[in-house]
Symmetry: C2
Subunit: 347 residues, 2 copies
């Protein structure tokens, strides 16, 4: 008897234009089933989603095929498919030689479905959970978001003791890791976020100056506490401009994301001329392209520090696939109070 | 008998806001005199302006003291002073040990006045005119504009044979030098400008693809001829966006200026998120900060090539100080057909 089970998923309803609206653009669909014993693997693996990372960039993937300008990777809306993101999955069956049933994998493009067949092993990596951290953490602080911070910091931050870093979204999954990496390297850290709780968390993880940008204008703080030697940008737009206006000569901007523009057609920055006056270097990076260089080092270093409390993190964990649209909505509005992860399996 | 002569100058009338208007913002004033024999030098030098370089960035200097955002160097409007720019001057008297009367100097902040006393030697360099090139060229292709191209190219262009460069304002003083440096290094060059004459000149200096952006949309050309490995930006705004949309992964943007925004409060760029997808590096640079590294090499290399015709240039030379406002206006409108220089002395 082949084992046929429900295979719920989150998929598209309409192409979002402007703000993502709950109940309009994404739908939870539990009508499909899958035959776990007989579904063809075509040389790939059958996996069960365990923990899904919900991240701002997912909004950017929700583009029509025509909008190629922002859509550099060609990952656009396809109403036939589930949405996807980073996450952890359990391997149920495998036709790949070095991946075995019972193993767990970190997947770059994991379908937001209970089960899926993966045929390309690009972006698939077996993860050894060698600590007592739950899998939700391996989808967050020990997953893509923590890795983004770690890779970008290692590769691009011109670390000098006594330099000043400014990080926007310092209360977030990437930002709070950046704060901790910078403090470990002896930098002075200015960090901003949009709620009192996030400000408290930023102080807890070591930020020297932590402020709520909704209460105190960014320029006011940076004029007083700057100039900035390194700016870690998760926001773009006017926040980037405010940072550029307060950079020291020879400063570095690391662009990790531009959340201010994800609902729209890219967020404008006006102060790039400041780069000419100030010999500013600005670098964008795709997390995936640095995996080969830092991933082993990351897994050896960061999960133990998360477990023993040397590095801190906050999670906002949901236990139902249905919650994905709401989680994404909360992130885009800056309402989440920790790294958003949707856990599907009680593993 | 002390020698008292007219000392005409160009100065400010009103702070320009928005477009520079002729006859409104800048005035030619010939009411002052100077005593060439007795004017105190205060340890400096008395100089006579020979050739003044008129450049787009001068518009940016015309800011009120309050506008600190763009005004990174604090060089703002002061109605008591002449305007200033790069240029060549003859030394008449000197209290500086290594500068002698009869020598010629390249000055970073040369007053647009017939005579002036300079007390700070920062940005002052004795120039040996060892070729048959006129001084106008030493204020242009062999001066700041040529040096900007040379320094920026040498320091920041990741040169690989077969790479593709796109340069906007490729018909200009900086842009045309960049084209020639890139061709010499074996790159394929796409270049844009705003007139038929400039397109012809870009072809003449070696551009593989030269087009008039007023007739052919930039995105159309770049989609067909790209992707771009290096973009040399003199424009900013939508031109920068079009380039970002067509960069190859790991590409480099060298920001030399942002002429599209000089009349306004900075020009917006919307596509910085493309830097994240594409591992794009963007660098701004101040010409002055690279002098120490490349200036001797530049003088040894470029003027001989300009003289023997290996490197080409175009000039638009005016022979009256009164013409400075008109020349600047033409540049900001993209109407000049060569490097604008105002020559004051028949030396």
């Amino acid at each position: 008897m082949a084992k046929v089970v429900r295979n719920a998923r989150v998929t598209y309803n309409n192409v979002p234009t402007g703000n993502l609206e709950l109940g309009k653009h994404l739908v939870y669909d539990d009508s499909a089933t899958i035959n776990l014993d007989n579904v063809p693997l075509n040389g790939g693996i059958l996996i069960k989603a365990v923990a899904l990372s919900v991240d701002p960039y997912m909004r950017l993937m929700m583009l029509s095929a025509e909008d190629t300008a922002l859509n550099a990777k060609g990952m656009f809306l396809n109403a036939e498919l589930s949405i996807f993101g980073y996450g952890i999955a359990a391997v149920l069956r495998s036709e790949v030689s070095n991946i075995r049933p019972g193993q767990y994998i970190h997947v770059d493009e994991l379908e937001h479905a209970e089960y899926s067949v993966v045929t390309s092993m690009t972006g698939v990596r077996v993860v050894d959970r060698n600590t007592r951290l739950p899998w939700s953490v391996y989808a967050g602080a020990a997953g893509m978001t923590g890795q983004t911070a770690y890779f970008g910091w290692k590769e691009y931050a011109p670390v000098k003791k006594g330099s000043t870093l400014y990080v926007s979204t310092g209360g977030g999954a990437v930002g709070s890791m950046v704060i901790q990496l910078a403090k470990k390297d002896g930098l002075r850290v200015i960090a901003s976020a949009g709620s009192r709780e996030k400000v408290e968390f930023m102080k807890e993880v070591g930020a020297d100056v932590a402020f709520n940008y909704k209460e105190t204008p960014i320029r006011e703080v940076l004029t007083k506490e700057g100039p900035i030697d390194i700016y870690w940008d998760n926001v773009g737009g006017d926040t980037l401009d405010a940072a550029l206006e307060n950079m020291s000569v020879g400063g570095t901007v690391i662009i990790c994301g531009q959340i201010a523009g994800y609902d729209d057609d890219g967020v404008p920055a006006h102060r790039l001329m400041k780069m000419v006056y100030g010999d500013i270097h600005m670098v964008g990076f795709g997390f995936n392209n640095l995996e080969y260089k830092y991933l082993d080092e990351f897994y050896a270093t960061i999960p133990p520090k998360l477990e023993n409390g040397e590095f801190k993190f906050r999670e906002e964990v949901y236990y139902s696939l249905e919650k994905v649209p709401e989680a994404l909505f909360r992130i885009l509005k800056g309402k989440n109070e920790g790294k958003c992860v949707v856990v599907l399996s009680d593993y």
